[in-house]
């Protein structure tokens, strides 16, 4: 006996910059303007998050997830993407959506309960996914289209650690593997799926090694090391654009805030755990690197914060000026080619609303 074999267990998350901002020996780091762009977006993400939570508390938007603590993963990925790349993500990737070109006001509109789109012309992204895992096979489909049309572009399919348990995650990644598609699967392992800790989600020692089930290479990266995230995404994206096939990246990070504004994390996780992770906040870490590299100008963060607050203020104003969704719009968007039967049903519904003065 003794015929069963175990998985390799020698994973070590890739890190290029230490907690204190010092680059690791021999680390190849992105150029300064890239680093600054990442920093700027991380600051924007932090401000965006604060503003959204306060809008929610004021009842001006609905339930929203917090992205605090995950800005390095989101921005590192977003900055590594290019204009022709497609993004397929979820509610936890709002910052990546914005880096990729979706204006904050569109996302605010969405959380105000309005029509979630359209995104600006030319921004290649699927709608912000709510159904966990559903975007994964869709991303494979986008990848197949790119491959068939021989476009030099990649697809990024984001999801969380919990999402890797869904059947759709499996089917989508396997499809991309089997058809050798230009898709990068980017998993933000933030330690929790609402109240279920990563270790209970799957017995797999890492999320990264799940890639081996699909015959594609993988990396596990310190998701709070923005530059490591950027570099590994760049490699995976280039590989995909080159036609060398899919890969999977696990970014190990931590959700510092609640799952959403409806969630009370004190019910299921220890304050001490959160405290410990606060100390690993990716934003001061990248700032320390900027200082270390001598590219941090005095007051930069404060300036960027101010800029972000201003731009959020404008975005909120724009979003709040959008008139509420009408039933007509809902019908208009249900069918591109309305049949006679569908038109009659529209008229019936509107007549009923008018009759009681609801319209």
């Amino acid at each position: 006996m003794g015929y069963l074999r175990d998985a390799p267990d020698d994973w070590l998350p890739l890190r290029l910059v230490d907690q204190d901002g010092t680059p690791l020996l021999g680390a190849e780091l992105p150029p300064h303007d890239t680093v600054l762009a990442i920093f700027r977006w991380m600051v924007f993400g932090r401000v965006f998050d604060q503003r959204m939570l306060s809008l929610q508390r004021q009842g001006r938007i609905g339930t929203i997830g917090s992205i605090r603590g995950q800005e390095a993963s989101a921005a590192g990925l977003g900055v590594a993407m290019q204009g022709l790349d497609w993004l397929a993500g979820s509610y936890r990737e709002l910052l990546t959506y914005m880096v990729h070109g979706v204006p904050a006001e569109t996302l605010i509109s969405l959380y105000r309960g309005g029509v979630p789109g359209p995104f600006p012309e030319g921004v290649r992204a699927l709608p912000v996914q709510i159904v966990i895992g559903a975007q994964t096979p869709q991303a494979a489909g986008l990848g197949l289209a790119l491959k068939l049309r021989q476009e030099r572009a990649a697809v990024v399919a984001c999801c969380g650690d919990g999402a890797t348990s869904e059947g759709d995650f499996h089917e989508g990644v396997n499809f991309a593997g089997a058809h050798h598609l230009p898709v990068v699967f980017f998993v933000q392992n933030n330690g929790w799926a609402i109240s279920v800790p990563r270790a209970r989600q799957t017995a797999s020692a890492t999320i990264a090694q799940k890639a081996f089930a699909y015959g594609m290479p993988a990396a596990q990266v310190d998701g709070n090391d923005a530059l490591a995230v950027y570099e590994v995404c760049r490699e995976a994206l280039e590989r995909a654009r080159r036609g060398d096939g899919p890969s999977l990246i696990e970014a190990v990070t931590y959700r510092l805030g609640p799952h959403t504004t409806s969630d009370d994390p004190t019910r299921y996780r220890e304050e001490t755990e959160v405290k410990a992770r606060e100390a690993e906040d990716p934003l001061p870490r990248l700032r320390r690197y900027l200082e270390h590299a001598g590219i941090y100008e005095e007051g930069l963060q404060e300036r960027l914060e101010e800029e972000a607050r201003e731009s959020m203020g404008k975005a909120v104003a724009v979003a709040e000026a959008v008139p509420p969704v009408t039933p007509e719009q809902v019908f208009d968007l249900t069918w591109a080619a309305e049949t006679d039967g569908a038109r009659r049903e529209r008229e019936r519904a509107l007549r009923e609303l008018r009759e009681v003065g609801e319209l």
Binding site: G113, G133, I194, P324, V330, F331
Partner: protein
């Protein structure tokens, strides 16, 4: 005891776990977190991790694991976090759970309950407000139950857990935290497969279930001020349908309005309408009205208030029926 709907559900689960050693509860976040709506609050603490289990984030497996547990003689109560995700369980429930007994010549049964909060007008994100009772009502082999009150929630859930057939139990989110009513302590059951008359009347029958029963009662109040006595029938179990209770009412009133918030085409209102005209054709004095969601997907929060039937729409339909 005083309880709202979610507390009634929780009480039923507690009683089942206490009294039935084969009963267990599983789902996403049902353990330490007590469910995103607190329907399982405190249960893991009281009964331990082997009776109240967090599952991986994978709905098809929650239903499939439930089937396996039931086949081995357990009585699982599976939670699907929101009814919108019942699409994902369609294969395990429709092709497997609902047919296990048939397929095994009766030697294995799927005595299990799948619970899910359903319904709209609660300002939740996309796919969190949908009502899919009709697709499961078209799936014979599984009973589909929707309580409209705290009393019914507890009694129907306890009946569902001890019923030898699988039951899809849809809990109206909108009234989860509604007012607390007095309900009996301890075990009692409300029989599956039986509608109830929620309000008696002679002029028109309003047929509803789940959260819409409350809206129908509101409409009945409004109609009463006009001298119209509406009878409100609460279906409670929508599959198999208790046609007799509906028919008895319509034979008396001659007029019917069927209400649900799911999309109109192919919704449960169609089945109720068909059954009424089959069984009470000669009593009908006006076309049966349906007051429902539209022929569109459930819309975004900003439009949902117009999609979900209001008391005004129900009353207007009743007036149409009365003046036809």
């Amino acid at each position: 005891m005083k309880a709202n709907v979610v507390e009634a559900v929780q009480d039923a689960l507690r009683i089942a776990l206490r009294e039935d050693p084969a009963c267990l509860v599983l789902g996403e976040d049902v353990g330490r977190n007590g469910g995103v709506f607190r329907a399982t609050d405190g249960l893991q603490q009281e009964f331990g991790e082997s009776r109240v289990l967090d599952t991986p984030l994978a709905e098809s497996s929650i239903a499939g694991v439930g089937l396996g547990l039931a086949a081995a003689g357990m009585h699982p109560v599976c939670e699907i976090q929101f009814a919108g995700f019942l699409y994902i369980t369609m294969n395990q429930i429709g092709s497997q759970v609902a047919r296990l007994r048939l397929r095994t010549g009766g030697s294995l049964k799927a005595q299990m309950v799948i619970r899910a909060p359903y319904g709209g007008n609660v300002r939740t994100p996309d796919l969190h407000s949908d009502s899919f009772e009709a697709i499961y009502a078209h799936t014979p082999g599984i009973k589909v139950v929707l309580p409209a009150t705290a009393y019914a929630a507890k009694g129907l859930l306890l009946a569902a857990i001890e019923d030898p057939d699988p039951v899809l139990f849809l809990e109206p989110m909108r009234i989860y935290r509604g007012y607390r009513e007095e309900i009996p302590d301890g075990r009692y059951t409300v029989p599956l497969g039986q509608a109830r008359v929620a309000r008696e009347g002679v002029d028109v029958t309003l047929v509803a279930y789940g959260a819409a029963v409350g809206t129908a009662l509101e409409a009945a109040d409004a109609l009463a001020t006009e001298g119209v006595e509406a009878e409100v029938v609460d279906l409670q179990t929508v599959a198999p349908l208790d046609a007799e209770t509906v028919l008895a009412s319509v034979r008396k009133t001659g007029r019917a309005v069927v209400i649900h918030e799911a999309a109109r085409p192919g919704g449960l209102g169609a089945e109720v309408s068909a059954v009424i005209q089959e069984g009470a054709f000669y009593s009908l004095e006006a076309p049966i009205e349906r007051v429902t969601g539209w022929g569109t997907p459930y819309p975004f929060v900003q439009a949902e208030g117009l999609y979900v039937p209001s008391a005004a729409r129900i009353a207007a339909a009743a007036r149409r029926a009365l003046s036809a």
